[in-house]
Amino acid sequence: MQSMRKALRWLMGALTLAICLSLAWTCVSMYVGRGSQKPFQMAEVTERLRAMLPLFLVWVLLLFVCLIAGAGGETDRRGQIGAPDMYLMQRKQSALALPESAQAEEGRRRRSTRITQLLLAILFLPFLLWMMGDEALSLDFERTMGRLMLYLSPVAMLALMVLMVHERKRQESIRKECEILRSGSKKGTRQQAARTDHTSVIRLILALLGILFTVLGVMNGGMRDVMVKAIQICTECIGLG
């Protein structure tokens, strides 16, 4: 029964993906077929969607089959990765002092975070400087977006890799620190300084700023600007522009 449910899920996944791809392909083929000469007509769009109706019906039927067979609902979450941070937080809250080895591990982790932040800044700074230049912000929006993707994509990929490496190292470091705490080493324990909670003060400042900005915004016409844009159909936002 379990293997049947698993097979049904895979089939459902494949069919859902097929439908999404078909819908995307329908749109692309209509555009490519006619180019800029009014590629989309309501009658043609309706006809093409009608042609996909059997696929939708099969999908709905399969959905019912999955629900009846119990292939729906939450899937097995064994092995779902959880972060070890909660154990560390709990130990820090409950312990007045942490062992020196744990403190050292934490120091290493903080240094690693700083290095990652510096690396990310180095990656993104040239891109940001390029963005600020006149060359980047051309009135030919397509050209701007094309160049943006060209410059941003490799930077984003590198940044993603840096973050993945950092996250893996960070989790290893936290696990190591948790092991130290579990082993109950008391060698060279140091008192932790109590941290003052500034949350209430920050909340008050933000609340006052928020109210002040809102009132100023109403007075300087900002609210009317929101209204003027909101009562017009933003053709470019919905792809009609």
């Binding site: 999404c20 959880g82 809102t214 470019e236 919905i238 792809g239």
Partner: protein
Amino acid sequence: MDKQKTMTARLRDHLPTRRRVIQLYCALLYNANLKGFIRGDIYTGPLKNLCVPGLNCYSCPGAIAACPLGALQNALASSGNRTPVYVLGILMLFGLMLGRTVCGFLCPAGLLQELLYKIPTPKVRKGVVTRALSYLKYVILFVFVVILPVGYAFRQVPLPAFCKYICPVGTLEGAIGLLSNPVNADKYGMLGLLFTRKYVILMAVAALCVFVYRAFCRFLCPLGAIYGLFSKVALLGVKVEMPKCIGCGKCTSVCKMDIRHVGDHECIHCGECIAACPAGAISLKCGKITLMDKTQAVPKSKTHSTARIIAAVAAVLALVSVLWLVNTDRAEDAPLPEAAVEETLPVGFEEGMRAPDFSVPVYGQEEAFTLSEHLGQVVVVNFWATWCGPCVVEIPYFDEVYRNYGGEIAVVAVHSDLVTDDVEAYLSGYDYAMPFALDADGSVIASFGGSAMLPQTAVIGKDGTIIYNAVGSMTRETLRQLLKKAGADV
């Protein structure tokens, strides 16, 4: 009996939870303009001065208020003229009061993603890759929501970059919402590369959401990124009572978001961890008031249950009031008075009809521009606004026509009655030769069939009949072809 019990238990799994009911309620409340779906237009009433907390496109036929992300981009796009404090203030208040509880409870886009995730398919687990990808939304926030609109604002070109190039919610609610109504069949002609690209993005995001929990919310949504910045200070949210916590980590392992600990900037405060916590250390709190904890099955006291009933009744009354308010016809919905028209051939705004006469005051000139005075000339009327990006980009094309063929072709750019900037001050920054006029009461654009979309261009032949009248951006080539069709020697 056992089989039936299993079936009942399975069905019970799919009953809506309290959070789901709240999500559905919010989706209906944000899109309460039901007559917009029937009529194929959008709500234009006073509620659009306000922003809803979640992501809901204001070009959706049902939308009754503005989208905070769209409003932020438009405000930043106008930052050359006015500091965008109103939207920033609204976002600060939402962030402070609600934080990412908006994502978990109040966002229709989040609801759609969760419903897609319920489709029974293999699922992608969270891990190091998804955790790293969750930072992508901050990049999108800074590049598409902040830098691009502000950068172009100083070039006086409004560009809501995220809405225009990425937002799948706008494509779904706005484009598909409007175009699925046969009344808008003529708008299909405006679809092109931009729509195709956005539609592909919509399909890609929808497919991803089926396999990855809340893929758009986790990886792409800039609004979630903004609210995540308030995670440490938000009043409402899931909190952990550390003295009770045993550090087992079940909360983070049961959570489908990329959290490191409960309540961090990735936490959407959905409350799934509340039931999972063996020590009962987690609860949904508003300040010091506990709204939901592990023992939610039984109300704590009579006061608690009374408060719940009052809140539920108030919510239903609010929804009914809004539905009544936005769906009943008001005086403002009455058609605008049209300009005076000649009592001869069929007059109207369709191609082939006689163009309605109008007279509009021109900036910097004593004489008004009157259409009937230009009989015998080809006339180009462009309806535009300073806050409309595509309008601003195409104005130079019309000015070029005016400069080169001013004797044979009359050109006038008519600004919409909805003015946000000082139009004269705006125009003084440019060296345009063609006349710019103001349609103060909106009657001219109404007589040309226009209402809620810009830019709109009308080309009128030498005999006063309309050759072309449509909403959409104009290119040099298209304009040239239309002028040739109208009989101009270009």
